[in-house]
Symmetry: C2
Subunit: 587 residues, 2 copies
């Protein structure tokens, strides 16, 4: 046996016991006549002590040959410490070493294995197994484990059963790009890796499984933005004989259970906000509701006073930043620069400072009287000391720009506390969105989402923009953590859906024939939801990036730099698969 | 709300309640003045009753328009049944229909949705979502869910943490064929799908995770034998600071927990058998120990009496089939035919019937006296009434042949009861096996398995056949359900291992450099195990095939015939990936 206890286990009650520990050398402090080793494992740190004249001399020699991250085994007696460390659970004791064995030496690690490390991102990714030794990173993965456990516990208690769906499936043209897998046994054909188990979970409903879930890897071959990964994990769920209300209740229950069991937090009932309202009040379908600062439209108040910019705008809309009236010229310029950044794209920013004396100072003073500005301030429920920030232009774009500015102001004002959680449902999404570039309609959620019954006439008429869907997103702190819908379960409606999305009957049959076929044999009403598990873990931890919640993530080029994947394969492998590389002539 | 109760929920205590159920029409019995519908969902069956003069007439009309597998919603009052059905949990009540809504009609399914179905394999695979409706198939997947739940419960209680390892990894030449995934962002390069998370779990040990597990999909692109799947699931585990004994104890605990919690069975302590002993006594490294019938070698007794076949054999070995002395000529011929089948490959079978009167009758009577045969019978502990079955030839082949014959006899004698479970550990496996065809040594388990310390000199000398490994398999009822080993954690020993396996230093570095590198920074002693989860579920259920424990399995050509995958992809997809198909000229 390598150890009798872990490094996080010994207490004063173990005094005088003979124990054996094993772990990594965190630090060595050598005072000549006395030497301490901090021995670390996943469970904690225990102080090992060597004292001149009490500890065999050769142990000092061994101890002095140790370096950081050596793996050692220590036997000795548990003793009460003279100077206790109340910060450590093991801080009341130390182990008086009687035997030290070096299990494996270690070279000096390329960066410090501490919470505050000196290693850069690239180095830490290359030596991920060392980065994972850091408490802070390991704790993220322990949180993830706990989240998965508690998710399963809740869903099991609600009679969901976990079913594994296949990873080698069929490529479909809709949605993001598939990763494909050439088949050796069926040369010239390919499997695809699933972007989600969507159709399989619907088939499980047709199969009568009633309540399904799976914590499952999904795959998207997209150009990786800052915080995307080519493989990611979903909590994927589906229920039969449900309406939207049933699904919202069930998964509000899940998120409440997770906050309670993982964070010890009771969250209030989730407010529900329509997509229309979210866009109107926050300019976003995933509003950060940790703070108010809602939009106020002042189009009718601002037009007709000779200020061309507003006069020509479809919308004039602003936010009220509490207590910011005294922003300096420099601060105001920064905000203007912010909204003019290419990724935001506003032409300019109008501000109104509501002075302490009741007067107003604005960047458009030559067009508007004090009375004009007072009507704006009143509409925006501003008080003396507040700052109004106003954008104008085409409705959708302007709202999006103001949403960014709102978030920026929230950050500047410290209103986006990572330890505070504000959850809500956004509902009544449009069923379709028009892609100007592609010149066609796409399903906003996916082609299996049912339209609201009252909007089906719009679907029949081809007024796709007016069709709302039985779709819903769960939003926490301005991030969409999950989304789902009530599905179509009628084969004719599903066929109609594919038709308006531009599929020919043949294409629909070829790609999704199996699903529409399944609907012929008694499909129950059903709906579900999928949560982005990596993201959910990051939010629970108050972190920005999902990368530190994935044990072995890939970088922005989709590479695993630790194992050096992807990599070239052997010519024989290509031949067996019946494929050939097209050499890039520019190389 | 679609339902107030499920179809498995109502009892006599619900009498007179107004309820709403939803589900599938299992059967309709129409007696004219009274009509019953058996309504089915995942949870059970409830009898819906319509009675003339009590039920509104139009409900009869609706009910008579229903067909098998229609999805309906029924509201009504719970009443006590006149003729109760004690076989059904809901058998004491029925629901007097007051309202019936057809939620979705159904075409006549292509086969019966019953335990005994009339659908052939191919048809049931194509309509898998209907096959899954059958109780018998759904129960398999419910068992699987329960097995996964209980596995997690046990491992969680032992401080294991579940960590997800990547699916897009690096192709390695050792082992079975990899499925590969062409990279779009890194054209000309490929990811591979993991055959197991072996190196990642070892890196997690280097990272100090101490106890890891994962229920995880793995992939092998092999020609599919009868009961293999290209994607399969493992319970993958690894522990640090352990010796073989620690691992065996821990996972004996897991299997005991599973038998107890899933089957209600207390299994005895698992016997341990060395590989050498298993081969000697059962001719197999996965002996079916539900029955004895061990091998007895009678080489020394059988040689030198002029029977050329035995005289020229390396080994003469037999089994004693209790009570089979009176096998007919036809039965004995069948056994001879059996061992001569090409896949078994014996040249012939020698038998000795131990007659009730103490005499012997054998197929080699002209070479052996009654006394000769008596020495055989005594060696094999045979009694009057028993039948000795004897094979001879080259040791390894003969043992293998006799193993097949032993299993055949076990089956014929009804000794392989699927509801009886016999578990054991097979230990002390050889580290290497020689592949005559390839003309080289391969790692029997894998190249990361540590040799037994006392056999390391053989490794240094190149006497690879003598090196035993710290490797172990768990065997249940003649099937290997799990296997593992204590790993190498010393970089020099690992390098030596790659060397004797024929890797050049460059190849080893290129393929496994990251692992050997990791060993430089303080790798702890570690070891682990992986269980074949699909197989384990099948064995627990007493089933032969894993296919019915996988929701959406593939056929023997690796195809999913339901969704029709793999399939062709678009030319643009190929171009984006920088690959081209090599057309098969024979087509």
């Amino acid at each position: 046996m390598f150890r009798t206890h872990t490094c996080g286990e010994l207490r004063l009650s173990n005094q005088n016991e003979n124990v054996t520990l094993a772990g990594w050398v965190q630090t060595i402090r050598d005072k000549g006549s006395i030497l301490w080793i901090d021995l670390r494992d996943r469970y904690g740190i225990t102080q090992i002590t060597l004292v001149e004249n009490k500890t065999p001399a050769e142990l000092f020699e061994t101890a002095r040959s140790l370096g950081r991250e050596f793996v050692i085994q220590v036997s000795g007696k548990v003793a009460e410490r003279e100077s206790k460390n109340p910060k450590l659970p093991t801080g009341e004791i130390e182990v008086w070493a009687e035997k030290i064995a070096i299990l494996n030496p270690a070279e000096v690690p390329p960066f410090k294995i501490e919470d505050e490390t000196d290693g850069g991102d690239d180095l830490r990714m290359k030596f991920r197994y060392l980065d994972l030794r850091r408490n802070i990173v390991r704790k993220n993965l322990e949180l993830r484990h706990k989240m998965a456990q508690e998710t399963r516990k809740y869903l099991d208690s609600q009679y969901f059963i976990e079913v594994e769906t296949p990873v080698l499936i069929k490529s479909t043209p809709e949605g993001a790009r598939d990763f494909v897998v050439p088949s050796r046994m069926n040369q010239g054909q390919f499997y695809a890796l699933p972007q989600s188990p969507q159709t399989f979970k619907q088939l499980l409903m047709v199969a009568g499984f009633d309540r399904y879930y799976q914590i499952v890897k999904c795959f998207r071959d997209e150009d990786l933005r800052a915080d995307r990964q080519p493989e990611f994990t979903q909590i994927d769920c589906e229920m039969s004989f449900v309406e939207q209300e049933d699904v919202l209740q069930m998964f509000e229950g899940l998120i409440r259970h997770l906050f309670r069991s993982v964070k010890g937090i009771e969250i209030p009932t989730l407010p529900r906000m329509s997509y229309e309202e979210a866009m109107r009040l926050y300019g976003s379908d995933k509003p950060d509701t940790r703070f108010e600062m809602k939009f106020t439209e002042i189009t009718h108040l601002a037009k007709g006073k000779g200020f061309q910019v507003f006069d020509n705008a479809e919308i004039v809309v602003g936010i009220c930043a509490k207590g910011c009236a005294e922003y300096t010229r420099k601060q105001l310029d920064e905000l203007t620069e912010f909204v003019k950044k290419p990724q935001i794209g506003a032409k300019g920013l109008v501000y109104v400072q509501c002075k302490a004396d009741g007067s107003f100072k604005s960047s458009v003073d030559k067009f508007y009287t004090q009375d004009d500005l007072r009507t704006w301030a009143e509409a925006m429920q501003a008080q003396a000391g507040d700052l109004l920030l106003i954008l104008s232009g085409e409705t959708a774009k302007t709202r999006k720009q103001l949403s960014e500015l709102r978030l920026e102001m929230g950050t500047r004002l410290g209103l986006r506390d990572k330890n505070k959680f504000s959850c809500l449902w956004v509902i009544d999404f449009p069923a379709f969105e028009y892609d100007e570039e592609a010149g066609r309609w796409f399903a906003m959620h996916h082609p299996f989402t049912s339209p609201k019954p009252e909007d089906i006439t719009f679907l029949q008429n081809g007024e796709l923009g007016k069709v709302r869907a039985n779709a819903y997103d769960m939003v926490i702190n301005g991030t969409e953590v999950g989304g789902g819908s009530i599905r179509i379960f009628d084969k004719n409606l599903q066929a109609k859906m594919f038709e308006v999305l531009g599929f020919t009957a043949e294409q629909a049959e070829k790609q999704f024939g199996f699903l529409m076929n399944a609907f012929r044999y008694g499909a129950p009403p059903h709906g579900g939801i999928a949560f982005g598990f990596d993201r959910l873990c990051a939010i629970f931890s108050g972190a920005d990036s999902i990368r530190d919640f994935i044990a072995f993530p890939k970088n922005n080029s989709g590479r695993d730099v630790m194992i050096d994947a992807p990599s070239e394969i052997f010519q024989e492998q290509l031949e067996e698969l019946g494929i050939r590389l097209v050499k890039n002539k520019q190389l």
